[in-house]
Symmetry: C2
Subunit: 317 residues, 2 copies
């Protein structure tokens, strides 16, 4: 199977909403008048972002999900994506389920595959996603203000729990692992929540490297600090009390691979945030507050400081 056959067979579809899709030198996108185009790129490398031998269907889902999560964090509506794929060989038994997992999630979000590249090489999946957001309404990292509430969507830490269990570094009952593994393999991009938070959240970021590290980017970009209730955060582990308290804390604060949104909004908007969460059918939990003074302070449920260092994930450390 040659490169062009491969594209035609597994990835080429008739262009739909976009003026021109797969099969010319460029794809053509037509963003609606008055919108900005939100763009994000993520590269997934075998052994680094997924385990060798990972289920290709789940990998297809995850490769797009982590990119859609960036659109969600900007409040952008998915429009289209490109796929660049390096493969050790053109293996139909891998490509068929990979493309199915990928395109099923794409279809669920009306996100059209418009172009790409395939080549032989160590397995590497590079997606670039495009979304639309009305000019001036994108959710940025730089908008958090002192006094804002700090929220997080969904649950945290279960992806890391699954990873540690798969690596044999922690032992959990099989049903707990199965549930956690769903979170690791099939993250849910919070697109509906991102859209509902337009004009409401003052800042937002998606959680890929762990809550504390990603929150640090928001604080830095906004020139503020934060107090975070570590006990409220620890309660967000779906696996719950099956896991020891110190691990719950570590996984939820600095686990990584969560693909939830952390966002800020003024206290006056609490009811509106609740309504947005309901509209998006997404759980949202208030976990702290933005402070004028720089620094990130962890407290327990009684407001007492929590000691300890929680390193976030960095692909080069």
């Amino acid at each position: 199977m040659g490169e062009f056959d491969l594209i035609a067979r597994f990835f080429k579809r008739p262009a739909q909403r976009q003026p021109l899709g797969v099969g010319d030198d460029c794809a053509l996108l037509a963003p609606a008048p008055g919108t900005h185009l939100a763009v994000s790129t993520d590269m997934l490398v075998e052994g680094r972002h997924f385990l060798p031998g990972a289920d290709p269907r789940r990998l297809g889902h995850k490769a797009l999900a982590v990119n859609l999560s960036d659109l969600a964090a900007c409040g952008a509506r998915p429009l289209a994506f490109t796929l660049a794929l390096a493969l050790p060989e053109a293996d139909e038994a891998w490509l068929a389920p990979f493309s199915e997992g990928l395109l099923a999630l794409a279809d669920a979000h009306g996100c059209e595959l418009v172009g790409g590249d395939t080549t032989r090489g160590p397995l590497n999946i590079c997606l670039t996603v495009f979304g639309e957001v009305p000019a001036g309404q994108a959710l940025l990292r730089s908008g958090a203000r002192a006094g804002d509430d700090l929220y997080v969507s969904g649950t945290l830490g279960d992806a890391r729990l699954a990873l540690q269990a798969l690596r044999g570094e922690v032992t959990v009952p099989a049903p707990v692992l199965a549930a956690a593994r769903e979170r690791l393999d099939k993250p849910t991009p919070r697109i509906a929540l991102g859209l509902a938070l337009r004009g409401l959240a003052t800042s937002a970021i998606d959680l890929s490297d762990g809550l504390l590290g990603d929150l640090g980017h928001v604080l830095h970009a906004s020139g503020v600090g934060a107090t975070v209730d570590a006990d409220a955060v620890a309660n967000l582990l779906a696996a719950g009390t099956a896991i020891a308290p110190d691990l719950r804390r570590a996984y939820t604060l600095a686990g990584g691979d969560d693909y939830e949104l952390a966002f800020t909004a003024p206290p006056a908007a609490r009811e509106a945030v609740r309504a947005a969460a309901a509209q998006a059918d997404t759980r949202v939990t208030r976990i702290g507050q933005i402070e004028a003074a720089h620094g990130l302070h962890l407290v327990d449920a009684h407001g007492q400081p929590v000691p300890g260092h929680f390193a976030s994930f960095d692909h080069f450390v």
Copy 2:
């Protein structure tokens, strides 16, 4: 050096024309009203698209050049690009010249680096470029019509000559190799020509896999055939008669890595094509004609059929 330091140090610049650049979940692009956004992705893998140990400055240039070449083939004006980079290690001695080569070409074309991703892994460079083209004016592969002239820009085959010489499969004098190697390492994206051909060329494609193979895509998409003057094409090897006639023919017809434009235009537009080439300061040569009958026919300078099979480059064959 961590991932975020790396991005800040070598790739982050203040956002310029685009509303938001490197450093948030998404970059934001603002295409001009009435334009479409042309998008193209290319992935470069070590050992496949460049030799291990390749000069990083030249590699930075080439990685963007091959993507800009796709914009040129659509008649799009470069706007921005994203960079996803997998590196075995965060090596400053590699990153500094790589980013310099990349950003020098980006600056020359006003093409802004707006986002990206870095990770550890086997060396892999994935760029996605964005260009603007007035709605309805993009040059497509599907517009060639019977009777159209067939043109190619610049010179052909020298990149392949350099590759074969570097592999020790052909021996050429050092000055010839040095000149050919410039073509292999530092292709010139034909942006100015693409812009000048808007409204003039009926179809266009950039030559990355070899003239015959890429021309085949145009013929297929347009539902036509072509007659190509193989002698006129062989004369486009810049290394010229230093190279044996059979190799000149093979390299120019099916060499690959040329990053020139092949395009079609009606005979009535010959003077306008000449003027466009002059305006773009780019050599353009008429090499054949589009035919109603399918198939690609090679003839010599006397119109006699040229025998032989010239395989184009396919990354999976």
